[in-house]
């Protein structure tokens, strides 16, 4: 659930665009470097973007009865890190706006910030920490994906609360609504990816090693 067109005043729309811009620029710089180092990554990046986008069109059953769409950013974060994820999110959000009329154009900056920067950032930090203390893979995947989702929506709530009314009371209201609609989604997406990684590990262990390498621990 992204912030819709018209929900942010011009000042806030501009503010979030300006805040997001440096992250996206940095992410794009990373993308450029990855491709320069290994041109074969061009198709890989594009396919990952497509994968996230297609997955974000899955209608998952959720507890409230309505269906929801996963964000897919937790997955991309584990794969490429925050920088690249922010660029991917921008592309995916543009597609959602232009192919599904979800989200908006003036709210693009705010949505990139919540979905492509804040959520992934928290998720990535947790992911690294968990890798260090050797949390078992299923738990690690679940928590990373769940956090990416939940922090995306917490950020969205903050953005809306900042724009409307006294901050604290409206934040609680927005959070209350999101708790009902988005927490279940986060759990469902977390479970989905945990099963996914499990299947992948069995089908193509070489690929799983590529997404969830133990190298983060080795680096540290």
């Amino acid at each position: 659930m992204h912030i819709m067109e018209g929900f942010l005043s011009l000042e806030w729309a501009l503010f979030w665009t300006v805040v997001s811009a440096p992250f996206v620029v940095y992410g794009f710089y990373r993308v450029r470097r990855i491709i320069k180092e290994d041109p074969a990554q061009r198709t890989m990046l594009a396919l990952s973007g497509a994968f996230i986008f297609v997955m974000s069109s899955f209608k998952l059953p959720s507890v409230t009865g309505s269906s929801s769409h996963p964000t897919g950013t937790g997955f991309s974060t584990m794969f490429f890190g925050v920088g690249v994820t922010s660029v991917m999110s921008l592309i995916v959000l543009i597609f959602q706006a232009l192919l599904l009329a979800h989200g908006g154009l003036t709210t693009l900056g705010a949505n990139v910030f919540s979905m492509g920067i804040a959520g992934p950032f928290v998720a990535y930090a947790a992911f690294r920490a968990m890798t260090k203390v050797r949390v078992p893979t299923p738990a690690k995947v679940f928590i990373t994906v769940f956090l990416a989702d939940v922090f995306t929506y917490i950020t969205t709530a903050v953005q809306l609360a900042l724009a409307y009314g006294p901050f604290l009371s409206s934040l609680t209201s927005f959070l209350a609504v999101f708790t009902i609609t988005q927490i279940p989604l986060g759990i469902v997406e977390g479970i989905l990816f945990t099963i996914f990684v499990d299947y992948l590990e069995r089908a193509r262990p070489d690929l799983t090693e590529r997404i969830l390498p133990r190298r983060v621990a080795d680096e540290a």
Partner: protein, 264 residues
């Protein structure tokens, strides 16, 4: 998923397909910004009207079901968001609901703000749908290049677009196959099926990416792709039109403000 196919095909059949993408984009943005700047409900109403007419023209006044579905989905989110905004905005209480656990109060200011926001969102949906139904993603990417966005970004975007449809085809087939074998029977089962589909899709994407790299080499790819048809730029008439629309909407806003019509 089918929504995407439909909107994409619609864009290629649109009556406004040949309009300059840059022109359409700036026009859409102009109207969106004007409706954000306005402090009277008349402006977003006006934008909604213009947006709907443009959308109608774009789809040749045949509104397919998918648009209805998208608008309804939008309205659902809007109503929810609007209600929260109405409840959280401080002011004199005009209406209150007493639930067992919490008391929700709506202030007059809150309701005004909420209706303003909801109208803006509605106007936004109509304008965005106009742009979406008349501008395929590749045209949008072309336009970005015109606006000096790095070529690599536009290129990636077009590739993501192309691969998305390829994966969607694949997913569609897998979905059908899974359905034939009762893969969506029950919640947990559905989740497991989705996870399986994702695994299949993911492995498929990696393999496709490996083969596409070979394909690119076979076609003499050297890094950096040129374009045969340079996209139509932003012509002077479009710029004038956008400016005129913007000024007209601002003027409308001032006029309504002076007369005190539907202030938000």
């Amino acid at each position: 998923m089918d929504d995407m196919f439909e909107l994409d095909e619609m864009a290629y059949r649109s009556a406004a397909l040949r309009w300059s993408p840059a022109g359409k984009f700036v026009l859409a943005l102009t109207m969106l910004v004007a409706s954000l700047l306005a402090n009277t409900l008349v402006v977003p109403l006006m934008v909604l009207l213009v947006g709907t007419i443009l959308l109608g023209y774009s789809v040749r006044f045949r509104f397919p079901k998918v648009i209805g579905a998208l608008v309804l989905e939008g309205i659902g989110i809007m109503v929810l968001g609007g209600a929260v905004i109405a409840a959280v905005t401080p002011g004199e209480t005009v209406w209150a609901i007493d639930l067992a656990l919490l008391k929700i109060t709506f202030s007059g200011e809150g309701i005004t703000t909420a209706s303003m926001v909801t109208l803006r969102a509605l106007a936004g949906i109509s304008v965005m749908l106009f742009f979406a139904t008349s501008t395929p993603i590749p045209h949008f990417a072309d336009m970005l290049v015109r606006f000096k966005v790095p070529k690599l970004f536009a290129e990636l975007m077009v590739m993501v677009y192309r691969y998305s449809f390829m994966l969607l085809d694949e997913v569609g087939r897998m979905h059908l196959a899974a359905e034939c074998r009762l893969g969506f029977h029950g919640r947990m089962n559905t989740l497991r099926t989705y996870a399986k589909m994702m695994t299949g899709m993911f492995i498929r994407s990696i393999e496709t990416s490996e083969r596409s790299n070979i394909g690119m080499q076979c076609r003499n790819y050297q890094g950096g792709v040129g374009m045969l048809r340079q996209p139509q730029g932003m012509s002077a008439p479009w710029a004038v039109l956008c400016l005129a629309v913007f000024l007209a909407l601002l003027e409308l806003n001032l006029f309504c403000e002076r007369c005190g019509i539907l202030l938000g």
